[in-house]
Symmetry: C2
Subunit: 293 residues, 2 copies
DNA sequence: GTTTTGTCCTTTATCGTCAAAAAACATTAA
DNA sequence: TTAATGTTTTTTGACGATAAAGGACAAAAC
């Protein structure tokens, strides 16, 4: 079979939103840029919109003919790439009782279960292997190492090493470096989130990721920057599963972030180190508390 | 097409050596264990040896009938796995003038050039991406980041961080931990190599890798241990290319290793840190000296 | 002259297939 | 009863085919 049409479908849905908003659509190259797809895909989208009577498409004019309704949108689950479907399904397995250390992973079985080809599985497993949760034996299957306490400890150790160094590098950045402005914006977002914490505490993890990635980017080291992918993966999936005390945890973390940001702005290296360590310590504890044993 | 028969061929060659040595072969399971292959492969090997008149195979008895000659061995290049062929070919490209930063990698073209299927290339590139030398754009090709001075600096930074920590962990190991014995053996090998440095200086890099991997293993952290793969890859390929002053460099490194080992044995943390830093400093300089600019 | 569109070619994503290699099971010899 | 051999079943490794998505280039519109 050929590739799934998820790029097209997802872009189509986003394009419907644009249509609602503006009543017409811009030029093909511009549309491609806003949607993040090629002109070929843009033209497929326009073709369908024309066919469905949503727009009158004639060369440069793409005028809306009617309001899109719910039926015009592609179902959400068809807009995911195969890779992300595999990822989700695999993580669910990994975090379930099936994810016992030592267990074997059968590529064909996994492919059947998820409903994709074996090469998608193979490629996913290779990509995923860098997270240190699975390991390959030559000419044999993958072995699950499991989401264990030991894993969490090893992860936290590296994270602390990297983040302390990145934070130190951040302080050393020239004051006119764009990262300082980015930090200001993120600080403001923290205040906003704290103000509306009651209903928006779920938005924390996205802000958290952006904050830490900003810090890590100051290291100017691709290995440090890339390592954050491991952390992000863990947080993303693990916290979907464990929601106990989520609001309180997030509120604490937000405050720690603000102290951390203040330390960075103060330019005092010792202050930065203290604030960074404090936050990483509670992050580690939170993670450990949610690991099976 | 099906998979290449490299496992069989390589095991066959090694089995011929065993046959020369002992005049007969042990039981199938034992043979499988020594050769590191399954019984299925062992039986394929025995079948062929029987056909070729090398052994008289009847149930448990596998008696040698004649001495194997050069023709009995499979050609060496047929014993490489497709993955290693791809790796070598790709690294040659990367270290050649073609490996310019910013260049695109075309999967199909690469597959044709090397003479393998596209999925072998894809899987290799995914595996290789963790080395930080290439990067993927969604639905588009891989981009070469190049083997640059910047890369070497980033690599050295992480290496120093990890090795200092591992060395500190090594010193803290209980004196009856098997790692200490392994260190003694490696120390002895260093003395042997220095004694015969004139003709054996090429053997250094293998010993070097074993030494550093031993140190790293004391960290008990999979991310640190796995990171050594990146370093090993760089050293393996880069030094195949740059052989200037190789003998002298290796001799210096051997002496630094011995000082480093002595420091570890002394149990003095400050001593260890000093010896470790000194060695890593010259390793970094050597690497930087051999990078284009 | 620049941007947009129309057309065509290239490259990637995904799958099914088939032999190699491993693993499981059954049988026989010691 | 244990450990080997003989036989069958699973699972991985590698490939080619095909449609989706990207990209290039000429013609047309502003």
């Amino acid at each position: 079979m050929a590739k799934s049409r998820n790029v097209y479908k997802q872009a189509y849905n986003r394009c419907l939103a644009l249509l609602c908003e503006h009543g017409e659509l811009p030029s093909e190259p511009e549309l491609g840029a806003t949607l993040g797809v090629s002109r070929t895909t843009v033209r497929s989208i326009l073709s369908r919109m024309d066919e469905q009577g949503l727009i009158a498409w004639d060369k440069r004019s793409k005028r809306a003919l009617r309001e899109p309704n719910a039926d015009d949108y592609f179902p959400e689950d068809e807009t995911d790439s195969v890779a992300s479907i595999v990822e989700r399904a695999f993580m669910r397995r990994l975090l379930s009782p099936e994810g016992t250390p030592g267990g074997m992973i059968n590529e064909l079985e996994l492919a059947r279960e998820i409903g994709v080809g074996t090469s998608s599985i193979r490629e996913f497993l290779i990509r995923f292997s860098r997270f240190g949760l699975i390991e390959k034996r030559r000419n044999s299957s993958w072995v699950l190492k499991g989401f264990t306490r030991q894993f969490a400890l090893e992860l936290a150790e590296i994270r602390e090493m990297f983040e302390l160094r990145s934070a130190a590098a951040f302080v050393a950045l020239a004051r006119d470096h764009p990262a300082w402005q980015a930090l200001d914006r993120i600080e403001a977002e923290h205040h906003e989130l704290i103000a509306g914490i009651a209903e928006r505490y779920m938005d924390f993890s996205e802000l958290d990721e952006r904050f830490h990635r900003l810090i890590h980017s100051a290291s100017h080291n691709r290995f440090i920057v890339d390592f954050y992918d491991v952390i992000a993966m863990v947080f993303h999936y693990h916290y979907q599963w464990n929601k106990t005390e989520q609001r309180k945890r997030n509120e604490t973390a937000l405050k720690e972030h603000l102290a951390y940001i203040a330390a960075l702005k103060s330019g005092q290296r010792a202050e930065v180190e203290r604030a960074c360590r404090r936050h990483l310590k509670s992050a580690r504890e939170t993670l450990l508390a949610s690991v099976p044993v």
